[in-house]
């Protein structure tokens, strides 16, 4: 077992038996779950640039000394691949993602172990003990308390965040991060630099990226999207809920927003354009157009079939809205009403006709108040002619009253 921080400046001897240099860094390959050391970076007094010695040329590897199996000058230099990273320069002291604890942690030290003749990265030490050890004050922590023992996080539970210099293949290095809940990814991204944010978003697939962006703070959403290629940005917008996509587009410069809308599928773009016409703080501004409308002529059985067909699209199916041929809102019934109704009963026979609804221009606070007052899951939004335009769901209404996650999240300095 080794600590990476202790390996720095280890004496390196070659076949001549003389010390030819000191260890500057280790190259590790991220292709494996526990990355093996693939080369040593040896600092020699003769050369300006350090030499990368392939692992195959290492005879013995100890914390006190390293022996090479050939003459240093004759050893062929190792060529770094894009799967390899410098352990001390690019991993030690940097921040990485603890996918188990779902947060950013600082690498205080890296633990390596000998496995079948290879040296592999096993875990990250994040304890204060590691700091004291590196400062040469380990005795302090032993004296202070025994609880401050090393705190390791297994390498299989960490994910690197790309640095500015690193050349490594992002897709490979970020795959674990993509498995987290989008809200957690957004939380972690909040702590990252703009460059890193861009890289992380780039590595996620469209759907996860869309969900993650929805969880980010509005100001960060716009910047994140603006930094992307327009083609991909429009794909991600299509995956987002239309109301959220509209909010995001409203925060972008007008030209960029127009360009993205043009790149989107006709249907999605049309919905968003309609939503964009309403002020952001009105019912029209926070509503979604993904609701279930049932024709007034339908029976209960037909309604259920319709839901089966449409369900994946709609934001909520607990309320079903009955509309006539011109799209006038006639009534509403719940999923429960529908299920208990006889299959051949007309929906008009069991719907509620005095629907609680709001005009598209109603202030969002009033919408939230109504939803709270009548304990609704969603409220329909109509225009002046009583045409159904969309619905505001309770979760969007709550955002108005209770600050959303990003608002609760204190800025770094106060959080």
């Amino acid at each position: 077992m080794f600590f990476a921080s202790r390996l720095q400046n280890t004496k390196v001897f070659d076949l001549s038996g003389r010390q030819v240099g000191t260890l500057q860094d280790l190259l590790v390959s991220l292709q494996h779950e526990y990355p093996p050391v693939t080369a040593l970076v040896v600092k020699t007094p003769r050369r300006k640039q350090p030499k990368k010695v392939p692992w195959s040329q290492v005879l013995s590897f100890e914390e006190s000394e390293i022996f090479l199996s050939g003459y240093l000058e004759r050893i062929e230099e190792h060529t770094q691949t894009e799967q390899e990273m410098w352990l001390l320069k690019e991993i030690l002291d940097k921040q990485i993602v603890d996918t188990e604890g779902r947060k950013l942690i600082r690498v205080q030290d890296v633990q390596l172990a000998r496995v079948n003749g290879n040296i592999r990265v096993m875990a990250v030490d994040i304890s204060t003990h590691a700091i004291l050890r590196r400062l040469g004050l380990a005795f302090l922590s032993e004296r202070l308390s025994s609880r401050k023992a090393p705190h390791f996080i297994d390498w299989s539970n960490v994910n690197l965040v790309p640095g500015k210099v690193s050349q490594i293949n992002l897709k490979v290095s970020l795959e674990k991060l993509g498995l987290l809940h989008p809200a957690d990814i957004a939380d972690i991204m909040h702590e990252l630099s703009p460059e890193q944010r861009r890289a992380v978003l780039q590595s996620l697939d469209h759907e996860v990226a869309a969900d993650t962006i929805e969880e980010m703070a509005p100001s960060e959403q716009a910047t994140a999207l603006a930094a992307m290629e327009s083609e991909r940005a429009s794909d991600i917008l299509e995956e987002m809920a239309p109301d959220n996509a509209a909010d995001l587009l409203a925060d972008l410069p007008q030209e960029k927003a127009r360009e993205l809308l043009d790149l989107m599928e006709k249907e999605e773009a049309h919905e968003i354009r309609r939503l964009l016409a309403y002020p952001e703080t009105s019912a029209g501004g926070i509503m979604t157009t993904e609701y279930m409308a049932i024709p007034a002529t339908a029976t209960a059985r037909e309604a259920i079939e319709l839901i089966r067909k449409e369900e994946p699209e709609a934001e909520t199916i607990y309320y079903l809205y009955v509309v006539d041929e011109e799209g006038h809102l006639m009534g509403v019934f719940s999923l429960r009403d529908l299920i208990v109704a006889p299959p051949e009963a007309k929906v008009t026979s069991f719907m509620i006709t005095n629907v609680i609804k709001v005009d598209a221009m109603t202030p969002q606070e009033e919408v939230a108040r109504l939803i709270a007052k009548y304990n609704l899951l969603a409220i329909p939004v109509v225009d002046q002619g009583n045409h159904l335009l969309g619905i505001v769901t309770v979760d969007d209404a709550i955002d108005v009253v209770i600050p959303t996650a990003w608002k609760k999240r204190f800025p770094r300095i106060y959080s």
Binding site: S5, D93, K94, Q95, I105, R106, V107, Q108, I126, T128, I131, R134, L135, K164, V165, L192, S193, P194, E195, Q196, R197, A217, S219, E220, T223, A250, D251, P253, Q254, A257, L276, A277, Y278, P279, E280, G285, R409, F410, P411, R412, I413, Y414, S415
Partner: protein, 413 residues
Amino acid sequence: MHRHRRLTRQRILLLLALIGPGIITASVDNDAGGIATYSLAGAHYGYSLLWTLIPITVALIVIQEMAARMGAVTGKGLADLIRENFGIRATFYLMLALFLTNLANTMAEFAGWAAAMEIFGVSRYLSLPLGALFVWWLVVKGTYQAVEKVFLVASGIYFTYVVSAYLCRPSWGTVLTRIVVPEIHWNGPYIMMLIGMVGTTIAPWMQFYLQSAVVEKGIKARHYRASRWDVILGCFVTDLVAMCIIVACAGTLYKHQIRIEDARDAALALVPLAGRYAGTLFAIGLANASLFAASILPLSTAYYICEGMGWEGGVSKSFREAPQFFWIYTLLIVLGAGTILFPQVPLVPIMYLSQVMNGILLPFVLLFMLRLINNPEIMGEHTNSPAYNVVAWSISLALILLTLLLLLFPWLT
């Protein structure tokens, strides 16, 4: 009403949205130590130190601009960058020094607060616990939006010094001439005062604070132009306030050859000379400045240290999750306010001590900053230009030289 119309308004609002970090940093800059130093400069040397404000402003702008640029480009705090690029050893000792320095600074702030409240007849046994409680409450119970608003309003209170200066009826013509025409007196106390002014205006913790605040605002490299104006404006405001304090004291106390020990003396001495309002406004300014800085210092210090050392930090965490953060934060407040409670504790030497410690730390912080900002791996195309580097290095070297003088002076004279 239409969203499209809002878009254009948003562009105008962009500049306003970026305002904040620079102005707040600049205001906290005129803290208890700053006000005391400027008061002394005005009372003992009249207008003869006014000219230093122009070079000080230039230096301040250059240094703060670098901090803000690093924040915008990297999206990381200064402590974070230092840890990632200079390793644990350098970070540890720098953070230890920052802790001690800011402990001294916090003590100075609470000393200023206690002194200001004593002018209004409030005992320090009452004002200190209340002040400490307010600081704690603001952070633990307040939301950031509220906190930022409080701070921005507090920045406005500095205007009291402008009114104070006006009430003292100085001859503005002379003031203007004295600002532009430099004069140097080659005697120990004068040079000492000059160094004190530089030291109190350009403090190490400000660079950490500003950079984090810029990161926090989410200012990106491409919006950076607008943000730069915030920094420059902030620096001008800082030194405008400084000028008003000097003018207020010079036009009255210096004219009547009244010796003062600290800012409290200045406020009291202003009453018979410039009227009750001038003195009261002066005291309000001091109370506000002290409490303002005392709110920001302990918290931000705890934050940078945790950032650099890789400990969990933040008021939204529990004590169990982030013990180091809460210990540092609590220690700073308790020691900072607690020390001042003892009546034997001399306030003037504490102010001086905090300035000396700032002075010792500043060169190191500047050297780290210059190395970071010139590293293309970190800053990309936003490194300093060669010309800018000449200016930045000259300023840094001048500051380091002045600091050495400050430290050596007690032995030289």
